[in-house]
Amino acid sequence: VRTLLIVDDEDGVRALVRMTLESEKYQILEARGGAEAISLVKRHQPDLVLLDVMLPDSSGIDVCRALKADPDTRAATVVMLTAKAQSSDLEEAEAAGADGYFTKPFSPVALMQRVERIFGASI
């Protein structure tokens, strides 16, 4: 069972991701903000973090950087989930150590395939 953390301040987005990926294969955790996300990653060591860029308490980029800087949390694959698709944001995400990105609005089917591909590759 893979552990997966979805970080987004919008309840609807979290519900969508949960409904999309809900199965026996995944344990899904939710966080509304950056601080909560970091503490959950430390506690549960999720395999994948779907991280929104615009968080209420901090930028998703900063959260990613913090996760990748900490040896305890570095192992998690981080995919940025962003409404912004400008290249400068993507460069920023890459520089912060993100492993990939996914732009909103997104197709749940595409997200499911993407997640399965990530886990497939990591096995």
Binding site: D9, E10, G12, V13, A15, L16, M19, T20, R32, G33, M54, P56, D57, A83, K104, P105, F106, S107, P108, V109
Partner: protein, 694 residues
């Protein structure tokens, strides 16, 4: 915009600004100088003209007198030789061999015949006589009656010649025929050389005057011949009876002097221009005189010519002064106009030379950079106008818009609103700069004209636009993501149970409502800002409206709603739909920012002419630092409690505008962590009626 420039600095700026121009005062000064110079020219011409006339008069006078002098000299010499030739005739007779015999008594008949012959030969003589040394008349031809004049003249003649021993010429006397004449005499000598008699000849003055008849005289001039006694022989006042030897020029000439003078002459009116010359061999004098008026004619014509020249010069001077005045005034006006335009341009304008030195800057630019009183003039552009790029680094001179315009000889403008200017008080003002090459001489680059615009407002709008795009795109994308995502799940996932399907549909529904609200809000803002939002005010029952809105909230929300509205509040004059929107927005905020189950209170009361409605929650409140911006467009707090709740930052802006458009006010009282009260007012119908009745 309320902070206007310091008036002192303003005056300073204005004065330095005007100084380079050719002002009205300068033009006036210049005109005065020109007029004074031209008046001086006219005075000079008048003075020189007068001097010219005076000197012309004097030179003409001298010229006339010198002419007279020459005439007088010629006449004197002619008279002298005329008289001498007659004396020589007598002398020649007297030295003939045997001429002494003329005195012999026996020779009387011969003598008479000889004398007749002489008389015939020399008609110049009117009488020829031989006298004994004692004075007895020995013979004469023709025979004259012995008048007293004749006798005394012969005696004077004999005495004179005996004394001189050679020849003698008497003064004038009146001949028996009434004509004026003079007597010339010489001696007759015997063989031993002793004087044996006197040979006399009477010469009519008319025959002597003939000798001077050829002397050329200036028009109007008169010649006088005067004998040794001062008797005038020719000219005015002829006569042997009156002597004029005391008259100045006559006296001087008789005493041997010659010259010219201005004098009065006997029997003539006014001052005369006189030349006098002695006839030295005779002791006589020649006087030539002319009236002073002889010079008036030429001088008058010369005066006329000079006056005409002077008048022409004066006219020219006046025309030149007037022309110059118009020209200078025109030039001055043009310059003043250009200066005024430059000074009045609302944007900052400066000119720089090819090396980047600031030549002129206008008050608007002084205002922007804060360098008043011409302190920027003559200094390099890059020292006065320090510019920063978007990263905050100072832009080097070569990279500035101004240097590029000078280099490329093309118009160069800064892009966007990223450029900042360092002002004298240390602030950085966003500016836009456009520089155009200044071309006065086509071959030589003369510098550049620089327009500097304060774009603080534009930059603010730009930032607002960025935040609008960011907010709106976020607010649009989230519901769109949910609608697309959940509908896709509903379409693709056949394994969803009815509870999940219902949840997905509910999410789609809520998201479309959210999109609808966002679009409504944006449309409201657009209408408010373009002034197209119309209010249809009518008396409405406020209590009923509040109850309706609160009930609809109470249905869907678990807050505790309390309403406190007096039943005698009366109707307010408002747009019912807008009032419902106001109440909905404020209640929605109260619900959003306060914990579930807490109390939300709507209380109304009558306050003067208005009904006052307060909506109080016990939520997160608004910190003092953010209170001022709460009603501004797109103002969203950065606090996580706020950001956790979606919103565009438009709600309170729209609400405030809706209230104010209906003649009310909206304000907030809040304490961070304790809750907020938003209060709005609407005009009461009673009050409106009262006002109208008055």
């Amino acid at each position: 915009m309320s902070e206007k420039r310091d008036p002192r600095q303003g005056d300073g700026a204005a004065s330095t600004w005007r100084s380079p121009g050719l002002g009205q005062a300068r033009v006036r000064r210049l005109i005065v100088v020109v007029i004074v110079a031209l008046s001086g020219l006219v005075v000079l011409v008048a003075v020189l003209g007068t001097e010219q006339i005076l000197s012309a008069r004097s030179s003409l006078r001298n010229q006339i007198r010198n002419g007279e002098l020459t005439s007088a000299r010629l006449a004197a010499s002619a008279v002298s030789s005329a008289v001498s030739s007659r004396v020589e005739i007598l002398q020649n007779l007297a030295v003939q061999p045997g001429s002494a015999n003329l005195v012999e008594p026996g020779q009387a008949v011969n003598l008479a015949a000889a004398l007749v012959a002489i008389e015939r030969l020399y008609p110049q003589f009117s009488n020829i006589a031989v006298l004994s040394p004692s004075g007895a008349l020995l013979s004469e031809a023709p025979s004259w009656p012995a008048t007293a004049e004749v006798v005394s003249t012969r005696r004077a003649s004999k005495t004179g010649v005996l004394r001189s021993g050679q020849r003698y010429v008497t003064g004038a006397f009146v001949q028996p025929d009434g004509e004026l004449a003079v007597t010339v005499a010489t001696v007759l000598r015997g063989a031993d050389g002793s004087i044996v008699g006197v040979l006399q000849g009477a010469v009519p003055v008319s025959s002597i005057s003939e000798a001077v008849g050829g002397t050329r005289l200036n028009g109007g001039a008169i010649l006088y011949l005067v004998d040794q006694h001062g008797h005038i022989l020719t000219g005015h006042g002829v006569g042997a009876n009156s002597s004029h030897s005391s008259t100045g020029p006559i006296r001087r000439a008789l005493s041997g002097q010659s010259g010219t003078t201005t004098a009065t002459l006997p029997g003539l009116q006014g001052g005369r221009l006189v030349a006098y010359v002695p006839v030295s061999s005779l002791g006589w004098a020649v006087i030539v005189e002319n009236s002073q008026s002889a010079i008036e004619g030429p001088v008058a014509s010369m005066t006329e010519r000079l006056a005409a020249i002077g008048g022409a010069v004066l006219l020219f001077a006046i025309a030149a002064a007037v022309g110059l005045w118009f020209l200078l005034r025109q030039l001055g006006r043009q310059r003043d106009e250009v200066t005024a335009i430059f000074a009045s341009v609302g944007e900052g304008v400066a000119t720089v030379d090819a090396s980047g030195q600031v030549l002129k800057i206008n008050p608007a630019l002084e205002q922007i950079c804060g360098c008043f009183g011409g302190s920027a003039l003559g200094r390099p552009w890059w020292e006065t106008f320090v510019m920063y790029d978007e990263r905050g680094s100072v832009i080097g001179w070569e990279e500035t818009v101004v240097a590029r315009a000078i280099r490329t000889r093309d118009v160069v403008a800064s892009r966007g609103f990223t450029l900042s200017l360092l002002t004298k008080d240390g602030r950085r003002t966003p500016v836009a700069v456009t520089a155009s090459p200044l071309v006065i001489d086509r071959l030589v680059p003369s510098g550049a004209v620089v327009v500097v615009r304060d774009v603080s407002g534009e930059r603010e709008v730009d930032q607002l636009k960025t935040s609008l795009v960011s907010t709106v795109s976020h607010e649009l994308r989230t519901p769109l993501t949910l609608i697309q995502g959940f509908s896709e799940l509903l379409l693709v996932r056949k394994d969803l149970d009815s509870a999940r399907s219902h949840e997905a549909l509910a999410q789609v529904h809520a998201s479309s409502q959210r999109l609808g609200r966002l679009i409504d809000d944006l449309l409201s803002v657009s209408r408010i800002e373009s002034g197209r939002l119309t209010i249809e005010a009518a008396p409405i029952d406020l209590k009923e409206a509040v109850t309706e809105v609160v009930s609809s909230f109470a249905l869907e929300d678990d807050h505790r709603f309390v309403t406190d509205i007096p039943s005698d509040l009366g109707a307010v004059v408002a747009d019912r739909d807008k009032t419902v929107q106001v109440l909905t927005n404020l209640l929605s905020n109260a619900v959003k920012y306060s914990p579930s189950g807490s109390e939300v209170r709507v209380a109304a009361r009558c306050a003067g002419n208005h009904a006052e409605v307060g909506i109080t929650d016990h939520g997160i409140g608004v910190p003092t630092s953010e209170a001022a911006g709460v009603f501004e467009k797109f103002s969203r707090s950065d606090r996580s409690e706020v950001r956790q709740v979606g919103g565009t930052g438009l709600g309170l802006y729209i609400t405030k505008n809706l209230v104010e458009l209906q003649g009310g006010q909206l304000w907030m009282r809040s304490e961070e962590g304790r809750g907020s009260t938003f209060t709005f007012t609407l005009p009461l119908e009673m009050a409106m009626a009262g006002t109208e009745a008055k």
